[in-house]
């Protein structure tokens, strides 16, 4: 389907299908890569949301995961390593009407770009941040990642890692995020659901996706292993509005594979975008015509 045809669907109020959001570009991923499932889950979520592809900006950094925008029909922006969040925030602030998605990997999001996450969370700009966490650098062929476990042997940790991994869930909870969820392509329905919910959530939404690397990853982290090890938060009776409990469960990252919504703020704080709208409304009356701006510089004692 061409982008124009897909977009035309909005005008005719036709219901979108996941396929409307899939481009004809062939993914570069290895057969069996978890990221295939993630792009499917995202397109399913977008079909349910019902916004046309041209109203969506899909931003990414660098890494296997960051190829995703090109595999959709949205306006994609495959940027530089680690900087997808600042760029996505600029897009959303420039045009608040857009639906802004960000795809990232563990290296992009928690190593080179790790400094941006806390600020995206505290600004609470209404974007959805999906991190494909495979605990390895796949694109560069198997180096240690910030979420690789201690002791892990890779080509850059020949004798085993002697540092602790980042805990993305706990970090983001600690930064004060209002929507934190985790999924795996082993549970496609659940993954699409938390992505859709994240998009609908008014504010910054973080979704950690355990997306296994079939080439450089470890067998106990492959999709099959996920299927047996994952545990839905719903099934253990977790109340997503319970922040303390969510934080406690987040600590089990790396040992347990919880899926579903870990934390959803029952009283979402106002977003940065709302603040911008209020400020624009309050100040627009005091604007002088642009060509009169130099009058600001008339001297007065």
């Amino acid at each position: 389907m061409t982008t124009l045809e897909a977009s035309a669907k909005t005008l005719s109020l036709t219901k979108f299908m996941a396929g409307d959001f899939k481009s004809d570009l062939k993914p570069i991923w290895c057969p069996g890569c978890g990221d295939f499932g993630v792009v499917t889950a995202i397109t399913r979520a977008l079909a349910n949301i019902g916004r046309a592809p041209h109203e969506i900006a899909f931003v990414s950094g660098i890494g296997c995961s960051s190829r995703i925008p090109g595999y959709t029909t949205a306006y994609g922006f495959n940027t530089v390593h680690g900087r997808s969040l600042p760029i996505a925030q600029g897009i959303k602030l420039a045009n608040p009407e857009l639906l802004v998605l960000v795809a990232s990997g563990d290296g992009d999001g928690f190593s080179i770009g790790g400094g941006h996450v806390a600020h995206a969370v505290r600004r609470n700009i209404d974007i959805t941040y999906i991190v494909m966490d495979n605990q390895i650098y796949g694109l560069t062929k198997g180096q240690l990642s910030p979420t690789s476990s201690r002791g892990r042997k890779t080509v850059t940790s020949s004798f085993g890692s002697i540092e602790d991994p980042v805990n993305p869930l706990l970090y983001v909870m600690g930064y004060g995020a209002s929507y934190v969820a985790q999924g795996t392509p082993a549970d496609m329905t659940g993954l699409a659901k938390i992505i859709e919910e994240g998009i609908r959530f008014p504010g910054f939404a973080f979704i950690n996706v355990q997306s296994p690397c079939v080439t450089y990853g470890m067998e106990d982290q492959q999709l099959k292993a996920h299927k047996t090890n994952m545990q839905s938060l719903e099934s253990i009776g977790h109340d997503p509005s319970d922040r303390a409990k969510a934080t406690e469960l987040a600590r089990e990252y790396g040992t347990k594979l919880y899926t579903g919504v870990l934390y959803r703020n029952p009283n979402p704080p106002s977003t940065y975008g709302q603040g911008v709208i209020e400020r624009h409304d309050a100040l627009k009356k005091s604007a002088v015509p642009r060509h009169e701006i130099l009058n600001r510089f008339k001297p007065s004692n």
């Binding site: 994609g76 969040l85 760029i87 130099l294 001297p299 004692n301």
Partner: protein, 596 residues
């Protein structure tokens, strides 16, 4: 009478040096004088040494440099820290605080014996009349108003306005302190009348501002609605001005978590279709480089202002230098061309910034504006600017027809492809830092990469013929040619005037467009030149070397360059020009060997 007065005032941070200078500046501007004021500080946040230089004249002021006509020292230790920034000569009138305990004939100025020296109990006068030594600045203003005939009524009005909220007692105390300064000058008159002549343009309302505020105002005028940045000296005032103004126009200022995020947000906003800008200085520019490369490859418009300071690394954050030209031209990896523009003055930065937005939008490219600390933070009178003369250019959007099977990076004759933005039906494409084909799809094809490079370079060809981005002054056939840029161009302009007054045949080329190098403009300029000089503020003489990469000019064209914070004086340039005249004469008598 004086036509041109240079006043330098120095003291400790709390001495009111800057506010004395500012009240004098505002008063002189209101009276119609041409004025420039520069400030200079130690690196302390509060306290430490502070100084300002004012140049007030009946004719347009081309630069703030030159030896002081008047030096005001609140204490000598601080005054001396400014060294060559506040040069005292025997003709300088020296006014200093008598409580420094220094005898008028024993001033701590090496090898200089100023003829006219006033020891004034400034602090005591402030305490006596205003009841606080905080009024030292008011006493100084009174002294300068009295001796040099500047802005008496206007300054009194200013004092009344400034202190009105603090009550009658304080207002009257400050008025008395000002009067005490005036009275001192009546009791101790200058032997020679040095009062500034009446302004030629009396009554005409000039603007008074600094380069950073002017740059920000130009951005508003050009239609900028997004600014992302991070505080860094000496560029921060651009963000501060825009934060006060841009929201009124539906725009946004994002103070980002770092320099990279600042320019990242700007690239995002530009992708989303908005005119966007960032501003920074050296270290921030280094950090932003990767994302500027992204904007070049993805062909996204943005303006990046680099207010240059001394470098490398932290360098000298509060001092001007022109040493970031190589970085501006070459710092991104890969084959890449980004236009670089430089303003020469506070007035000039308006047009240059508007031009930067126009070039960015037209060529779909990042454009770098190389301002510098001096232009950025000096306050200057500016003649009213007729904004109706400026054209505002918008990026070329795709037509309805072009949106059918939209091809974002279509290779066109001009190299410029219509650009869509999210929200535009049918304009969907993949924007990326990875090399792409015409549709925007990632490619690793060498052939496609070569074609895209060619497109991205060729689109700038017309830019090199923009002769309106260059000014040439003086006799077009002159055998001596000067080239200068940025804030130093004003020094060269003054040197040109001085040389012309002596009957020397000299011309001056001032580029606003530094990169790409406009080969033919320089070739034409150097055609008549037998001796030449590039005048610039960097150790390496960066423009000289950059132009040499592209233009074969005669070996007799040399750089005259100094590291930042070492003022280049018009008189020094004039000396060089005189030497060149002699050299030309002697070479005509005795043909010199061909240099290799």
């Amino acid at each position: 009478m004086s036509e041109d007065l240079i006043i330098g005032i120095a003291g400790s941070g709390g001495d009111g040096v800057i506010s004395a200078g500012e009240s004098l500046l505002t008063a002189a501007a209101l009276e119609g004088y041409h004025c420039v004021m520069t400030k200079s500080f130690g690196s302390q946040i509060r306290g430490g040494e502070a100084s300002c230089r004012l140049r007030l004249a009946t004719q347009p002021v081309l630069n703030p440099n030159g030896p002081l006509d008047v030096a005001v020292a609140l204490n000598w230790d601080d005054f001396k820290k400014f060294g060559a920034e506040l040069p005292v000569e025997s003709a300088t009138i020296v006014i200093y605080e008598s409580n420094t305990g220094v005898a008028p004939d024993k001033l701590p100025l090496q090898g200089v014996k100023p003829a006219v020296v006033f020891s004034v109990p400034i602090t005591a006068m402030a305490a006596e009349h205003a009841g606080t030594d905080k009024a030292k600045n008011i006493v100084i203003a009174g002294l300068l108003a009295g001796w040099f005939g500047i802005g008496r009524e206007s300054m009194l009005a200013g004092i009344r306005k400034k202190f009105a909220k603090k009550g009658t007692t304080i207002v009257e105390g400050n008025v008395r302190a000002f009067q005490a300064g005036l009275d001192f000058t009546v009791a101790n008159p200058l032997k020679e009348d040095r009062k500034l002549s009446a302004p030629q343009s009396g009554g005409q309302t000039k603007l008074l501002t600094d380069g950073n505020d002017m740059c920000a105002a130009a951005a508003i005028f050009a239609g900028c609605t997004f600014f992302g940045g991070y505080p860094i000296t000496p560029s921060t005032e651009i963000m501060q001005f825009l934060d006060r103004e841009i929201w009124k126009y539906g725009g946004t200022v994002l103070q980002a978590e770092d320099e990279i995020a600042g320019v990242g947000a700007v690239v995002g906003a530009s992708f989303a279709g908005k005119k966007s800008m960032t501003a920074t200085s050296g270290p921030g520019m280094s950090l932003k480089t990767e994302i500027l490369g992204l904007a070049s490859l993805a062909e996204l418009p943005l303006v990046c202002v680099n207010v240059m300071r001394g470098g490398p690394s932290t360098g000298m954050p509060t001092k001007a230098e022109q040493s970031d030209l190589f970085q501006a031209a070459f710092s991104a990896h890969g084959d890449c061309l980004r236009p670089v523009l430089a303003p020469t003055s506070v007035a000039d930065i308006f047009g240059v910034t508007v031009e930067a937005f126009n070039l960015a939008e037209y060529y779909q490219t990042p454009v770098i504006v190389l301002s510098d600390q001096e232009i950025a933070q000096r306050k200057e009178t500016v003649d009213p600017i007729d904004t109706s003369k400026f054209q505002i250019i918008e990026r070329r959007r795709p037509t309805g027809q072009e949106l059918v099977n939209y091809t974002r990076f279509k290779i066109t004759e001009s190299g410029i492809s219509p650009i869509s933005h999210p929200g535009m039906v049918g304009g969907n494409y993949l924007c990326a830092g990875i090399e792409h084909n015409e549709q925007g799809r990632p490619t690793a094809s060498g052939e496609m990469h070569a074609r895209m490079n060619e497109k991205r370079f060729n689109k700038f060809n017309p830019l090199k013929n923009r002769r309106d981005l260059f000014t040439i002054e003086g006799d077009p056939e002159a055998p001596i040619g000067m080239v200068s840029w940025g804030s130093v161009a004003g020094v060269a302009q003054e040197a040109l005037r001085l040389a012309q007054a002596e009957g020397l045949q000299v011309k001056l080329l001032v580029p606003r467009l530094l990169y790409p190098v406009a080969e033919t403009v320089y070739q034409d300029f150097f055609a008549s030149v037998q001796r030449g000089l590039f005048i610039e503020q960097s150790y390496q003489a960066q423009l000289y070397r950059l132009v040499r990469m592209y233009v074969d000019f005669p070996a007799v064209v040399k750089p005259f360059a100094k590291s930042g914070s070492n003022p280049i004086l018009p008189s020094e340039v004039l000396d060089r020009l005189r030497e060149m005249v002699v050299a030309i004469q002697s070479s005509q008598q005795q043909p010199e060997a061909v240099e290799n």
